[in-house]
Symmetry: C2
């Protein structure tokens, strides 16, 4: 049986059901593969021949004049089994079945899906889907998603697996459009007729390009096996997971989405926690958490320092921190003394450090660097959240970023409030320099809390050997 890795490293792709209509997905995919610079060979197959995007369409897979590693099927369910047999004859190693209309739609579809499963088993070909946009490998420029762009194929270090149809394409497109969040591999599982979440996770765990793994699942077919693989994976790199179908109503909808089986959410929650998986309820938290893990080292403890222009924002952050199981750090005498060089008001050597009004005397940049320097050197501080007022765009952050370079041996997060424009300029600059910057400090608190939990678990496992 072929490995998932072999399929992701395919050097040639055939699109079966390539349309002559340039707006159809099968045609779009051919165009995309040409534009994103996939290094391997590409062929379109259409029984009526013709051409699209200046590429000839072959009347059958057999006619394709080179060996085909991977076939992408944009054809209706009823004709998929015959096409798979043709793939096997051609020596195809793996297939992505993009069409909907299988087990998620009822009995007839389920029967097609069983036929697909039987053919894959008997031929040793590996199958992704049905009902998925399929695969992306930025190391080779391979994509089977017609929603890909060159930007999406820029190599990064986030591996993402989704039990979904189109979502995997949309989310990868979004991620890769964000500064610093480029992907390594993308895997759409769809209805999981063959390759499932366990195999995909095991592959990403071994993949050297992947530094962090993201998952969207709707069910887990074999809980014990998932727990086993997930434990191994989280010991090597962080695994962030979203699950659809937490509620009965959500699970019902997921049955008609990817033919998922309901899993009692508390059981699932217990399993992922035991495995050290970081669970997230929504995509915005997923993305913020990705940035934390990718840009910053893990914290050694849960004691945070807050630096703030605004007491109100610091207080809301402390509330969030305590609710998330973090602690407000107590500074050493030395730290207080260092801080008092720029913050003269007697109470201001305390945590949170209040920048106002003393900041006006020394200027924002100098004040910020003195305080950050003191906090980075205080062993009683495990993470720093800097709440600033956004004004003058990115400018005030240039010396601060220079100062932080090489010094962030503990996580440092920024949060900025000001006009939308100032916030965007400053935040883009900080994130280009791999310092996470969120709109509001509570977001940083939650990310830090997740990194802390992961670090504790990882440390525990390392001690256990």
């Amino acid at each position: 049986m072929r490995s998932v890795r072999e399929i992701l490293e395919s050097r040639s792709v055939a699109v079966i059901g390539a349309s002559r209509d340039p707006l159809k997905p099968g045609a779009q995919l051919l165009n995309v593969l040409k534009k994103v610079g996939f290094g391997g060979q590409v062929a379109g197959v259409n029984p009526q021949g013709g051409e699209v995007f200046e590429m000839p369409l072959y009347r059958s897979l057999e006619e394709v004049p080179f060996p085909v590693d991977l076939a992408v099927l944009h054809i209706p369910p009823a004709v998929v089994p015959a096409a798979l047999k043709e793939c096997a004859r051609k020596g195809v190693k793996g297939v992505v079945i993009s069409a909907e209309g299988f087990a998620e739609t009822g009995a007839q579809g389920a029967q097609y899906q069983e036929e697909v499963r039987a053919i894959l088993r008997s031929t040793g070909m590996r199958g992704f889907g049905p009902n998925t946009l399929g695969l992306v490998n930025t190391a080779t420029g391979l994509t089977t998603s017609y929603y890909s762009s060159s930007r999406m194929l820029q190599p990064g270090s986030i591996g993402f697996v989704a039990q979904s149809g189109i979502f995997v394409g949309a989310l990868l497109r979004y991620l890769s459009s964000l500064e610093g969040l480029q992907i390594s591999k993308g895997i759409g599982l769809g209805n999981k007729v063959d390759v499932d979440e366990c195999e995909a996770l095991a592959y990403l765990m071994e993949d050297e390009q992947t530094r962090i793994i993201g998952m969207y699942l709707e069910d887990v077919r074999d809980g014990r096996r998932f727990l086993e693989v997930a434990k191994k994976a989280t010991a090597q790199k962080p695994v962030l997971l979203m699950k659809g179908g937490r509620t009965k109503e959500g699970a019902r909808a997921s049955a008609s989405h990817t033919a998922s089986l309901a899993v009692e959410d508390s059981v699932f929650e217990g399993a992922v926690r035991q495995a050290g998986v970081v669970r997230l309820l929504a995509i915005d938290e997923f993305i913020r958490t990705l940035k934390g893990f990718l840009y910053m080292p893990l914290p050694r403890g849960g004691r945070i320092a807050l630096v703030t222009y605004s007491g109100a924002q610091a207080i809301m952050s402390i509330d969030a921190a305590v609710e998330e199981g973090l602690q407000v750090a107590r500074f050493t005498e030395l730290t207080r003394e260092k801080i008092s060089r720029v913050i003269s008001t007697p109470s201001k050597g305390q945590n949170p450090v209040d920048l106002f009004p003393d900041m006006l005397a020394h200027g924002f940049e100098k004040t910020a660097m003195e305080i950050l320097g003191a906090l980075l050197e205080d062993d009683g501080v495990d993470g720093i959240i800097f709440i600033a007022f956004a004004i003058f765009g990115a400018e005030p952050y240039r010396p601060i970023i220079d100062f932080l370079r090489g010094r962030c041996h503990k996580p440092v997060f920024f949060s900025l409030l000001g006009t939308q424009k100032d916030m965007e300029l400053a935040s883009a600059f900080l994130e280009e320099n791999r310092v996470p910057c969120y709109e509001f400090p509570e977001m940083a608190v939650r990310v830090l809390a997740r990194m802390r939990k992961y670090a504790q678990m990882e440390g525990e496992w390392k001690r256990q050997g």
Copy 2:
């Protein structure tokens, strides 16, 4: 005793402690008042005289050649009492005390604050602060915050009260920089030596320019009175509230921020719920909720319809909706029939409505409008969440916005996923047209759930007369 309204409608302002150094807050404020086009008279007072920003500085308040309604004090705590007495002699109606160093810093500061209180009581002048940037009235162009811009003074309909120093300035600046979120009045309470949350709330409740009230509080001095005022206020317009100091640690920090007294959070939570106040834990949720209330009508029930390009996102939204107490609507036969004109797959007349793959046949715009039309006319649907794939920027939404105009008698929310750029273009266009658009549909779900709760409460009170 003067009313809060009288002070907000001040026609002349004196800045006491106006510096000749143009970078100091007292000087900045004079410049700001000039730039934002405040219609009234403005004077700076500095014992050494001189000038700043081409404005003469008077050596005393007495020398100011016109009556002064409002004085802003940028002077140290020790000299505030004497300045207040001078204000009273001049016939000043209200004062904003911007300086820090009062009850939030300890015994000496608390004593100054008590002196301030006594002088205000005996003279009938009204006081805001100490420790606050103070007041904004966009109807007259008045501001006492040196962090104001012309944009911030553009008249809007959000009234905001904050028990804070600088936060009120930063948040108002942020809000007013966002499309459609201009403010009516801003009130910083600081340490609340005189005007408190109840009086500010009562004022905004009566203020005709204000359609929705936002609050940030750290304590409530008289719970019963607050409950009474809040009940009256929520019967007239929505009140959204954030509170700092939910946890013991947060409350401790708020004591040294605005000298707040700890309130057991469960007691507070019960009171605000009873009063129909919408409580929010963080600023991002506050802003999203503002948009929902401002742009859309209240829902008549909790049954939502989802339209989606992605099963995964719809499922996560259903999970969030059920957790928030909403229901998944059941469509009428007629609605299903209408939807089936554009969505032919048999299962697709169901909720959530899955746009793929049928959308490709009719085009996104036509498909979207047909479905939206059907759902707007279905009395079993109380709110609509449309989850779209962002591509081609704002273009696809032009006909949809035209179609929705005059038809949104129930709330409609969009959520878009795609490249960051496409999301920003489409989202800006939708929000310019007062259709809330969030990055992720769970955000819309939570806003809709809050609007639903508010509508239930409001309906209940209307029935009670």
